[in-house]
Structures are given as structure tokens and as C-alpha cells.
Symmetry: C2
Subunit: 569 residues, 2 copies
């Protein structure tokens, strides 16, 4: 199975070209299989994955990396609410950084094509463990099985390859050598031979989030590896296992390719003894890739400004409702988005801005109450059957999200708002002890931005009574600009209003999904096609991926020297 980097480069060259093509055309493309169907993977694969996961419980996680000074690990499954009991290496940050820096020297001798070959090899190796990873993701993040398989598997790997392709493109823009010739008047023509060498920035710390442990991690890791920077992955204290599995597999691929595995390292910690700030402020930390809360993201942007900082935090995502061509399909899509993974996604809608003047649909108009009733009914329908709820809502990653639901309920009622649909636990058919909650739907007036003006990281939906569609648009766009939004939504059958909304959201620095219906998850973010996060509002400063995400992760050192007179050109 050993293949050297130049062989991997050749092996995966067609895929690199395909990825570059997809980034340019923004068409659907993937070299990975996003379905867990045993027709594709073989009958044994699903059970094997589950067995592999179960075999890891209650044991030390074997990860041979430098700087181990103890063990950590207090993960609790959102599905069983029991400890996973897995002990991970506790690491000395100095040793991790030193090891990563050492590994960078030989790694940086690889050509960009060789790095791409190794990264692709990693990606396919990671795909091979998609089943065990799905269980690991379920039992740390709380995702449903299908989402954990694809969202933490193929879809996340696609995002990694997308970043790989952008990094390659940015590096390919720099020629390796050139000849330059210029007439300097009385001294005549001078010819210089020039060469350009790409240099890495230094070690990157990749801070992963609890609910999507790998979705932004892969783009960050591949962007860093491609540009020559070692990566230390810092998982969420309750989301170590998927990250540890990935780190271990990537290290194995490095070893197989005859490379130093310390280009990829794990820095696990516990809530009681967090290590993140030590890593981020370590003098050897050159790059920070962060996914997580807005508050900590803002702290990093302020306190680690002498590093390169790329953040994706959280959006207070709004939905402007104007009118519908096909109200059933659209309400269905919206309800799916409100329920999906219990709104624990950075793209989940939260605030539905509904004009009190009415919403046009099916030749008539629905007033606020009628519109609210449609949304509420669609959510209720999706959560009535526990099996359907389980597939759609999955489990709550954190106990705190239940507190948030209670808090919103209390504040809304205290402020004269209405609870239209209360949240309740549903009985998960496979995991009776699962931490579950159906969405809370409340109605509030537009002037109560104190209630809905920040992201509530829980299945909470605010139906906001707006004076008009213009007021709805203005409020949603303003929140996107001032509070942050990753995905904003509009339902309108009026092309003029759509154009007006596009202009307003563009000005607010927020992307807008229009009339997304129930044929696909409305908040699906497609690698190679959707530019995820604008970087123009508080929901993050980086786009995953574009040229800006990669172009500054490496720098150019140049040499030049006269060509002796009389040399051949």
C-alpha cells in the first residue's frame, strides 16, 4: 500500500483537475460517496463501522504522537447521555508545535502536486472510515446517522478538496522561475535569472466545533497542508472522537507516503482544563482556523491579530416572507430547515419576518396568523412521529441548548409574545435516553429585537410580525449586517421584490437563498459551488473556500542573479 508522494501526485492528478474545474464552473461534483447504502459499500460495511465504534468505547484511543503528558476525555453521547469513556492523549503544546515545525521542513520540499496527491490520498482514506466516523459523529455531535455519514463524511471531504484546489490554484499562480531582460541604456541589456520559492507561514491551530466536528476542519487542514503549514487540530471537548479518528488516519497516510506524520496533530482537552487559548497564543502559532461561537471568534480576532485568523462563527439567520408560487413546497422546505438537526447548524433559519399586511399565495392573501399557522402545522407534522423526528431533528449536542429553549420561552411570554408551538422532548426510537427537543415556535413583534436579535443555538423559531414586506426585508438585512448571517432566505413570487432584496442583502454583506423548497435541504451548502460565509458580517471573516482563504497562507521568497553575458537564452 505504500505509495510515495510523486506516485500519489500522478494517481490523483485527474481528480485535482476535476476539482479545479468544479470550482470554476460551480457545478455539482464529488469523488466521494455520500450515501451509506450497503449497495454501494457492501453488506458488511455498516455493521463493521458500528462495531469499530463500539470497540473504542471505554478504552484509551491509540494515537502515537509526540508530547503526550497524560490523558483527557470526558465525552458524553447526546444519544445515550452516557460517557464514551475514551481516553485521548493529553499533549504538551510546546512539544506539538516543535514536532509540527520539524515536520514542515521535509514536507515543504514536496511540490504542490505532490502535496495534493498526499492530501487526496488522505481524503480517500478518511472516506474509507465513513461508517465508524458516522457513529463517532452521532455520539459526540448528536447528528442523525445519515447526516453524520454525509455531513461529516463525503460533504466535509468535498469541502476539504475544494480548499485543496484553491490552495493549488493560488500556488500555481506563482511561477517557479523566469528570465527577465531589460535595457539599462548605456550599460546595455541585462538578463536576470529569477527563481521563486513558496514558503509556509508556520504552524496552524484548527479549532473545531462541537456540532460539525469535521465540516470546517477538513478545508482548514487541507488549505494548511497544501500551503506547507502543519496543523494542530483542537476538537471541542465533547467532539474529540471524530477528530481523533481523522488525525490518526491522516498520520497513517503520511507515514505510508514516507513522510513525517507530525504535519497533523491532535490537541484534545476537557472543558475543565481548556487548552485552546494556550495553543492560539503560543508564539509558534502562525495561523488560526476557528469554528465556533461569535463571542470566542471575536475574542480571537481581537487578541490574536498578530496571527492569520480565519473564522466561521454563527449567524442570526433570517427569512423574509413576501409571497409564494407554491406555498406548500416552500413551507415544507422552511419547516425542514427549522427542524433539521434541531437548528444546530450555522445555516439554520431562525427568524421568520412576516408582514402583518399579509402574504400573497394561491391567488389570495394569508394574514400573519394564517401564515404562522401554516409554519407551525408543518413543524408539528414533522415532529409528531418519533421516527420522522429522529431522522430530521436528531439529538441536542449540549444540555445548555435545552436551557436556551426554556429561557426564550420565559422571556417571550414575559414580554407579551406568544408561544405558538412548544418544544418538547420526543422519544427517540433507537435511543430512549437521547437528549431531544422539538422546535419552539414563538410569535413576537418586530420591535422586540432584544428577543430574537442574536443566534439562539437551539431549535427556536421566531415568527416576527413586521409592518410590511419592506420592513421585513430591512430588519432581516440589518440583523444580517450587524449581528451576522451565514444563510438568509427569501420567499417571494415578485421578481422586482426579489431584485430589491438581492441588492439589500448584498449591501448587508449576506448571501440570500430564494424560494428554496422541500426538494432539498434549504440550507445545504455545496462544496465547489456555494461560497460559504461572506466575511462581510459578524458571522465570520473568511469564506470557505475562495482565493482569500488560501492565498495568504504561503508567501514567496525570490532569488535573482545575472545571467553571464553570452549565455544561451
Amino acid at each position: 500500500m505504500t505509495a510515495l508522494p510523486h506516485e500519489l501526485s500522478r494517481r490523483h492528478a485527474p481528480r485535482l483537475q476535476a476539482a479545479l474545474h468544479a470550482c470554476a464552473t460551480r457545478e455539482q461534483w464529488s469523488p466521494f460517496r455520500e450515501s451509506p447504502s450497503s449497495k454501494i459499500h457492501g453488506e458488511a460495511a455498516p455493521a463493521d463501522g458500528k462495531a469499530r465504534f463500539e470497540a473504542m468505547l471505554g478504552r484509551p484511543f491509540e494515537l502515537d504522537q509526540p508530547g503526550t503528558i497524560g490523558s483527557v476525555g470526558h465525552e458524553i453521547s447526546p444519544y445515550t447521555q452516557e460517557k464514551l469513556g475514551i481516553a485521548y492523549p493529553k499533549s504538551d503544546p510546546d512539544a506539538l508545535f516543535a514536532a509540527a515545525r520539524d515536520a514542515m521542513t521535509p514536507w515543504n520540499r514536496l511540490s504542490p502536486e505532490e502535496r495534493a496527491g498526499v492530501c487526496f490520498e488522505m481524503a480517500f482514506a478518511l472516506e474509507e472510515q465513513a461508517f465508524v466516523n458516522a457513529h463517532a459523529t452521532m455520539h459526540t455531535a448528536g447528528q442523525a446517522y445519515l447526516m453524520a455519514f454525509s455531513g461529516s463524511g463525503a460533504n466535509a471531504l468535498d469541502r476539504g478538496v475544494e480548499a485543496l484546489a484553491y490552495a493549488y490554484k493560488a500556488m500555481a499562480d506563482v511561477p517557479r522561475e523566469a528570465e527577465w531582460e531589460k535595457d539599462f541604456g548605456h550599460t546595455g541589456r541585462v538578463r536576470l535569472k529569477k527563481s521563486y520559492r513558496l514558503r509556509p507561514r508556520g504552524v496552524a491551530v484548527v479549532v473545531c466545533c462541537a456540532t460539525f466536528p469535521l465540516w470546517n476542519a477538513y478545508p482548514a487542514v487541507f488549505a494548511n497542508l497544501m500551503t506547507g503549514n502543519g496543523a494542530i487540530l483542537k476538537p471541542h471537548p465533547n467532539g474529540i472522537l471524530p477528530v481523533a479518528l481523522a488525525v490518526k488516519r491522516m498520520r497513517e497516510v503520511l507515514v505510508c507516503a514516507g513522510l513525517d506524520p507530525n504535519m497533523v496533530l491532535l490537541a484534545a482537552d476537557e472543558r475543565e482544563a481548556p487548552v485552546t487559548i494556550d495553543l492560539l497564543r503560543h508564539q509558534a502559532c502562525a495561523i488560526i482556523d476557528y469554528t465556533g461561537s461569535q463571542r470566542f471568534g471575536a475574542w480571537i480576532e481581537e487578541h490574536c491579530a498578530d496571527r492569520l485568523v480565519y473564522t466561521e462563527t454563527a449567524g442570526c439567520n433570517g427569512v423574509v416572507v413576501d409571497s409564494f408560487d407554491d406555498i406548500d413546497a416552500c413551507i415544507g422546505g422552511l419547516a425542514n430547515g427549522l427542524c433539521g438537526f434541531s437548528a444546530q447548524m450555522c445555516t439554520s433559519p431562525q427568524n421568520i419576518h412576516i408582514p402583518a399586511t399579509g402574504v400573497r399565495a394561491q391567488g389570495g392573501a394569508l394574514d400573519f396568523g394564517a401564515m404562522a399557522a401554516r409554519i407551525t402545522a408543518a413543524i408539528a407534522e414533522r415532529t409528531a412521529d418519533p421516527a420522522r423526528a429522529a431522522g430530521l431533528c436528531a439529538a441536542m449536542q449540549a444540555e445548555q441548548s435545552l436551557d436556551l429553549i426554556a429561557d426564550v420561552r420565559a422571556r417571550v411570554l414575559a414580554s407579551g409574545g406568544e408561544v405558538l408551538l412548544d418544544s418538547r422532548p420526543y422519544a427517540h426510537p433507537d435511543f430512549p435516553d437521547a437528549r431531544t427537543a422539538t422546535p419552539l415556535v414563538v410569535a413576537v413583534d418586530a420591535d422586540r429585537i432584544d428577543l430574537y436579535g442574536e443566534e439562539v443555538f437551539a431549535p427556536v423559531c421566531f415568527l416576527i410580525r413586521e409592518a410590511s414586506r419592506e420592513a421585513a426585508l430591512e430588519n432581516a438585512a440589518r440583523i444580517a449586517r450587524e449581528r451576522g448571517a451565514i444563510s438568509s432566505y427569501l420567499y417571494s413570487a415578485d421578481r422586482d421584490f426579489i431584485a430589491q432584496a438581492q441588492d439589500r442583502f448584498a449591501e448587508a454583506g449576506a448571501s440570500l437563498w430564494i424560494n428554496m423548497d422541500d426538494r432539498m435541504p434549504i440550507n445545504f451548502a455545496a462544496a465547489y459551488s456555494d461560497y460559504h460565509v461572506t466575511g462581510l458580517n459578524p458571522a465570520g471573516n473568511a469564506c470557505l473556500a475562495d482565493l482569500a482563504f488560501v492565498a495568504n497562507r504561503f508567501r514567496i521568497v525570490q532569488f535573482r542573479e545575472p545571467v553571464p553575458a553570452g549565455s544561451a537564452a
Copy 2:
């Protein structure tokens, strides 16, 4: 003469393609004329330029822009040491930012091609005023006429066009629209129509330096205009005139193209009442392009980290001397570099690291003293004749530089070092009152880094006695990494040592010019070919220009919407 943006786009399209080609091949290319020869420009042009300059002295500078609340201007000519007496508008920062923001709305409706057309038109309009600009640059920066004509003219415009081309390339990487189609299993294939809109960051403040008022300003301005951001140019208090002339001309081109001129604005100030910090910390300032001292650059990087910050500061540029194939040509080149514009260039060499073990040349070896004598003689030869000195050394921009020379002299003598060639004023043949100084050459031991370990912004050359060539290399590379370097130099006839030096400087994050001789200025930085500043050491965080210099100045906002079933593809 009026031409609309789409006409300018067409007119300059071949030049945009040529600039993109030059960036890719790194070959010599320029659409501008760098020689002031009247054979090229016509007999009248030189005198006209001089007359235009003289006509501006002692009068208000007419610049019709918003927010004028008074006048400023205390420039003194380094050549006459007299006041220019030109009064510039003093501006209200709030009004400047507001005007720039208003101008951005219509400007951002232009396509990248149209923006490029307008920017090219500006560049050629600026070239037309190269003669008056040369005098303006001489009498503010202190440059010699030829350098002022090309270095603040064609060469600076080339850099502007280079940045323009990179910005275009980065923007062209984002398609305007796409269709995306994916199978979502039971719901079937979904087709989405996607569109991508480029959005600017906001208003940029471009802080220009005293000695090269336009050299980094044009790249910054064109990078910003291309990506949709208005630019407020903040000249050095003694370098307003060249910047004011450029701003005025760019505004005229904008008006001629039917555009709002407030995409380009001037914010002049005086040393006694600086406005820079107010501009940089203004809430509407989104981008900072800074050229100037390391100290203020570091302050900006620390205190303005919530903006995009691009800096080019100063290098403590070293020269490692090992051996020569053609010692005369090389010493000649080095001496030219040490004298050129009195070492007031960010690329000027300062520290000559000479092994005490001797330097191999012409089949023999020169010891430290012999080597020092060669360098000293070459400098003395170049400064003996005032006319030659005038063309090479030009004038000292700032009185403080004379103090720096005195300070170094005193400290070197006090520490047991030697003055090998003292600095003295030379009598400028055209300007008897010119502020002039020939280079001070001192010899110091390698362990006296306290003397030579920082950039001395004056014609001061340290000959540093090193234990060996390896020690010389190590010291020079370490200073580059820790103190900053923009151009480093090596003289060696030993290919192995050259390779070793390349590795060491690459590791230090510094570019290396090897065996540069007297056939061209050794520190010449060629647009489209040399990557100026690595961004890996304290001499600046940005490269002018590469993709990283432009890719983050704009962001991408996206829209997507289902294609109704049955629509044609």
C-alpha cells in the same frame, strides 16, 4: 476626450491582457516610457513640466473635493531648503469617508473590465504629467531628476498596473453565475440557478511615504479601485505635492468617464497636526495600505487589527560577501546601491558582512581591510565629482537623516569601531542649498549588533567583521528574519555556498539578490517580475503584488434559487 467606462474597457483590453501575461511570465514589460528624453516626449515637454511645477509654488493647490475645512501645507524642498508655499485643502475625515462611500455605490456597478479600463486610463493620464511630477517628487522627496521621473513615474505606474492585473485575476476567478444540479434521492434532481456578486470591503486609507510618494501608492490605489473600494490618500506632510497631483488627475479621469470622482480623495496634513491616526481608526476605514517606518507599521498592525492592513515598512538589508568572479563589476554595483538616493530606499543595502578569513577574488584572497578599502574607494570615487554625486546620491529628504549620520559616527567611535569614510555634504551643481550627504562607511565587529541591527534611514554603511562566511550568512539571515529585510544580497562565486545561502534566506523569509553588478541598479525592483516584500519578516506583511495583496479586498455575496421544473437548461 470623454470616454465611458465600457469604451475605456475596450480601449485598454489589450494592455490588461499584456499585464496579466507579464505577471505570469515575470518578463519585462511596460506600457509606459521611463526615460525623460525629449526625443520621446518632444522638445517642449521637459521645460513645460518644470514651468508647471514652478507655477504651483506659493499658491493654493486647486483641488475640488468635499469636506474642505481649511488649508494645510508646510513642505520644504530638500534641494532649496525653502518652503514650497503650496496650500492644500485641509479635510474633514467624516466628509471624506462619506463621500468615498457614496462614490462606491455607482462604481461597484461597473464590471471588473470597466474598472480596469478606467484605471488604465488614469495610469496613462498620470504618465502624461510625468515631467511636472518629477519636479514635484524632487522637491519633496529629494530624489534626483531621473529617478523622480521614472521611479515616481513609469516604474510606479507599472506597479500600479501590476496590482490592477492581480485584482482582475482574483475577481475573474469568481464566476458571475452557474447552474447546479444534484440528485437528492427520493425527491429527485434539483436544479439551482446561482449568481455571485462581488462586494467591496469599504473605504481604504493609503498612507504614502516621504521618499517614494507614489511607488507603493499606485499599487494600493489600483488594487482598491479594482476591487470596488474608494481610496483616501494620506501623503507624508513633506510629500503632498506628488500625491495631490496624482489625486487631482485621477479625479479628472473619473469625471471624464462620467463617474463620481470621490473614489479617490486627498487627506493632507502637517507634522504639527497629523491626521493619520484619525483616518486609520475612523469607523468607516476598512482597509489600510501603509508605507513608512517599522515602528508606526507595527503600531498599525497592533491597533488597527480589525481592518485589513497591508504594510511595507523598512528593511535592515544585509550583504553577505564570500567571493567574486568579477570583483570590479560587483563592487561597482554594490557601491551604486550604497550611494543610490543616499540609501533612502527600502531596498538599499546597509550591512556588509565580510568574513575576516578573507574574500576570494581574482585567484587570490582579500582580507577584511583590503575588502573594506575596495568598497570605500568605490564610494569615494562616485562621490568625488559633485555632478556624479548629484545624479547618484540626490538629496536628503529629512534633516533627521543628518542627525542619524552624526549619531552613528559618534556611537561607532565610542565603541571602538572605525570610520573608514566620513560623510560630508557635497556641493550640488544645480542647487547650492541642497541638503546632501555622502555615505558614512564604518567598520564594526560582528558582536556590535547594537550598532547595525536596525535600519538607519540615512547613507550609512556598516562593514561588519565576521568570523567566517558561514557566520556572515547566519548573522545576515538572522537580522533579516528578526529585524526585517526587503532586499538581501550575496556575492559568491561558489555555487554550493549560493545554494546554502538561498536555503538559509528562504528559511528567514527574505529574498536574496545574488552577484548583482554595476550593469543595473542592484536594488531595482521590477514590476510584474519581482515579488516586492515577502511578508515573512518585520519589513512588511504584504507583497506588492501577489494574489494575497488583492484577494481579500473584495468578498462574494451569493444568490441561489431553484430553476422551475421543466425549464430549459
